[in-house]
């Protein structure tokens, strides 16, 4: 074999090797790193929904000719664990983008790491205004949830509209809140709003069953003695059933009985105690009646997991992945700057019933969130009663007295000027 032949063979081998390695690189999946509290109902719904979204993306050929791989880490709702999860995702798994997030405390612990790495983060939780302050000027941070001060204001708008439509009386409002950041923060954010609306507001903290509590009798009695026309409790899913049982036990049935846990316990829909209980949320399965994306999501979730999502973090996590996927497609690359630009151009019709578009909030540049909704449990289903354009049922008002529940569980008759 002469030198020329050897050179030709070497060139051929190099070309084949090059082609093979390029092929191997092309086969390398796009990695999305998710941080969620996996033992919690929000994390359970969120992780399943993210898996569903990734499965659907991969079935359609993936992104940029590559498959998508989702790597999930549990933050256990703790800041230190969230920080470790972030380190693992970025330095061990070399993920291309960070998604997920639920609790504010866990988010706060991960912030130094997020700033250190500067990876693109599309975050669905952490509603505390302190997080917004900490993220000032961070162009890689995209937030898909309303801040605490925004939530209260939007729901108050809903109440004012419902007051006019249904003749609701709520001059005396009692707010019971779990003593942690979630409950106290909600009370703090809601207090000036309620008072500005002319409400006489009284608040009292309770220890959530999720944190070792479970006796709400004292708070409920105080609300009853106060003569509350509207009772709002802010706590966790584990508080829902005992609060209703103890309210029935002491015969407390104010005109409006409102709960606002991030998610309801799975069996809450089966209890007759739920009838006419109102709650705040961003999504209900009932929205599928009016919104095809919502129906598509619910059907796909049920088909995949033989179960229903119980918290809005399900469709929100699905939205999280889909927004990132669309941005990667638009960017055509995983380069940070291009990805940020592509994310800024987001316009995604989410299963939550809203089109997500990033705008400037009070401090950060990239915030998009679903419109808050006021819901009510009616005959075992969570129905949307406000905003009107997405409402799936009329409000049952007043909350039926415990001894007259069978007769009273019908939609409100006081609606003014309503078309049948």
């Amino acid at each position: 074999m002469n030198v020329r032949k050897i050179v030709r063979v070497m060139v051929a081998v190099s070309l084949i090797w090059g082609a093979l390695t390029t092929g191997a690189l092309a086969a390398e999946p796009i990695k999305m790193g998710a941080i969620l509290p996996l033992a919690d109902s929000t994390g359970k719904d969120g992780s399943r929904s993210m898996e569903l979204a990734v499965k659907q993306i991969n079935e359609k050929g993936g992104l940029l000719g590559r498959q998508v791989k989702l790597i999930m880490m549990d933050d256990e709702m703790k800041g230190d664990k969230a920080a470790a999860a972030l380190d693992k995702l970025v330095t061990v798994d070399n993920v291309d983008i960070i998604v997920g997030g639920v609790g504010s405390g866990a988010t706060m612990g991960a912030i130094p790491g997020m700033k250190k790495y500067g990876k693109v983060v599309v975050w669905i939780g952490g509603a505390s205004g302190k997080i917004e302050e900490a993220m000032a000027g961070q162009d890689w941070f995209f937030h898909l949830h309303a801040w605490d001060y925004q939530q209260g204001a939007l729901w108050e708008t809903g109440y004012l509209e419902m007051e006019q439509k249904y003749g609701i009386k709520r001059k005396k409002t009692f707010m019971a809140y779990e003593e942690g950041a979630f409950g106290s923060g909600s009370f703090k954010a809601g207090k000036p709003i309620y008072e500005a609306a002319g409400n006489e507001l009284q608040g009292e903290a309770f220890k959530s069953a999720a944190l070792g509590g479970g006796d709400y009798r004292s708070v409920l009695r105080h609300a009853k003695e106060f003569g509350a026309e509207s009772f709002i409790w802010t706590g966790y899913d584990k508080d829902a059933l005992p609060i209703m049982e103890q309210a029935k036990e002491i015969g407390f049935a104010p005109g409006l009985f409102v709960g606002s846990p991030p998610g309801w316990p799975v069996d809450f829909k089966n209890t007759p105690l739920n009838q006419a209980v109102m709650f705040y949320s961003y999504w209900s399965e009932a929205q599928g009646v009016k919104n095809k994306n919502s129906k598509m999501y619910s059907d796909a979730f049920r088909k995949e997991f033989k179960d229903d999502p119980v918290t809005y973090f399900g469709p929100l996590a699905y939205t999280n992945i889909m927004i990132v996927a669309e941005a990667i497609k638009r960017a055509g690359t995983l380069d940070n700057a291009a990805l940020i630009k592509a994310l800024e151009a987001t316009s995604y019709a989410s299963p939550m019933g809203d089109t997500f578009v990033f705008k400037k909030s009070k401090i950060i540049d990239h915030q998009a969130f679903a419109s808050p909704k006021i819901m009510q449990w009616q005959n075992g289903k969570a129905q949307v009663v406000w905003p009107w354009e997405v409402a799936t049922a009329k409000l049952i008002y007043p909350f039926p007295a415990w001894d007259k529940r069978d007769k009273a569980a019908v939609p409100a008759k006081k609606a003014k000027g309503e078309k049948k």
Partner: protein
């Protein structure tokens, strides 16, 4: 043979000192967990040697953490100075509490220490100056988040605790506390000032816990009531010390190292059920090896020698 123990310790320290050159950022983060639990478990064990069962780790770690973060947030002091202040405040609180409750014994003392964390959690949650329920966020983490430097910081705290524990076993206080643990009446009739020695050891161990908590929350540049006073900080170190073997310096160290790493390993293997598996392992280990790893090791070496 006489020097083999010291040689083993030296090798261990050389390995620990070399680790940052070989570990990634995630593994360094796990080492922070190992070191903070070593400080908690070993300091808890030092108090246990006097016969006092404390559940106050979460309380003192939380006091240290809050003090340190508040110092940084309000006065922009150096993080190291903030950690020292956090440790001092935890020690002062322990001095005040100890002078009142160390007259109690057994279950009564344990319950009071358990209440410390809960009381301070309620206080910080209701004060605006401590950030109320949302807690406080610092603009920057200690050493600007440099993982190698934070490794050295936590390594130094764990090493400091180990050295204190070893030195402690050579002091008069140790003998006094051992005699108190064995029989208080005999100790008192021998002239041992029981109350004084108990207060000293309670203050020292609480200051260590305060220092570890202060450094830990400086790394995450934030502190929340639920995070800083987390009951897990009271119960996990106790389990780790029991798992490694109480009454020794190396038992809690080994227990903390094994269980901290196991917790993270399980999380990677079983993302959805790791806490359940971890809980089962801890219960099973304590049921089957009540004297801990050091106990098993001692039994083994005793059999080997005979």
């Amino acid at each position: 043979m006489k020097y083999s123990k010291y040689l083993a310790v030296l090798v261990l320290f050389i390995v620990a000192a070399a680790l940052p050159n070989y570990l990634g950022l995630y593994q360094l983060q796990i080492m922070n967990f190992v070191f903070v639990y070593i400080a908690f478990a070993l300091s808890w064990d030092m108090l246990l040697r006097s016969g006092q069962l404390s559940f106050g780790i979460a309380g003192f770690a939380g006091i240290g953490g809050y003090t340190s973060v508040l110092c940084g947030y309000n006065f922009a002091l150096s993080p190291i100075l903030c950690i020292l202040i956090g440790s001092a405040v935890a020690g002062i609180v322990a001095l005040f509490v100890g002078s009142q409750v160390l007259k109690l014994r057994g279950l009564y003392f344990s319950i009071v220490t358990l209440a410390i964390g809960e009381i301070f959690r309620v206080i910080v949650r209701n004060l605006e100056v401590t950030g109320a329920a949302e807690g406080i966020l610092l603009p920057n983490a200690i050493f600007m988040g440099n993982a190698t430097k934070t490794y050295w910081l936590m390594f130094a705290i764990a090493t400091f605790t180990i050295i204190i524990s070893i030195l402690f076993q050579k002091t008069r206080i140790y003998y006094a506390l051992t005699s108190i643990s064995n029989d208080e009446i005999v100790a008192a009739s021998s002239g041992v000032n029981i109350f004084k020695y108990l207060v000293i050891i309670f203050v020292v161990t609480s200051a260590i816990q305060g220092m570890a908590g202060a450094a830990y929350w400086q790394i995450y540049a934030s502190v929340t009531p639920e995070g800083a006073f987390n009951l897990g900080f009271a119960l996990l170190p106790i389990t780790m010390a029991l798992f490694g073997g109480v009454g020794t310096t190396w038992g809690p160290v080994i227990g903390s190292a094994i269980l901290s790493v196991t917790a993270e390993y399980l999380k990677l293997q079983f993302p959805h059920g790791h806490l359940l598996v971890y809980g089962f392992i801890m219960v099973a280990a304590i049921l089957w090896f009540p004297s801990g790893i050091m106990g098993v090791f001692k039994q083994f070496t005793a059999k080997f020698n005979t």
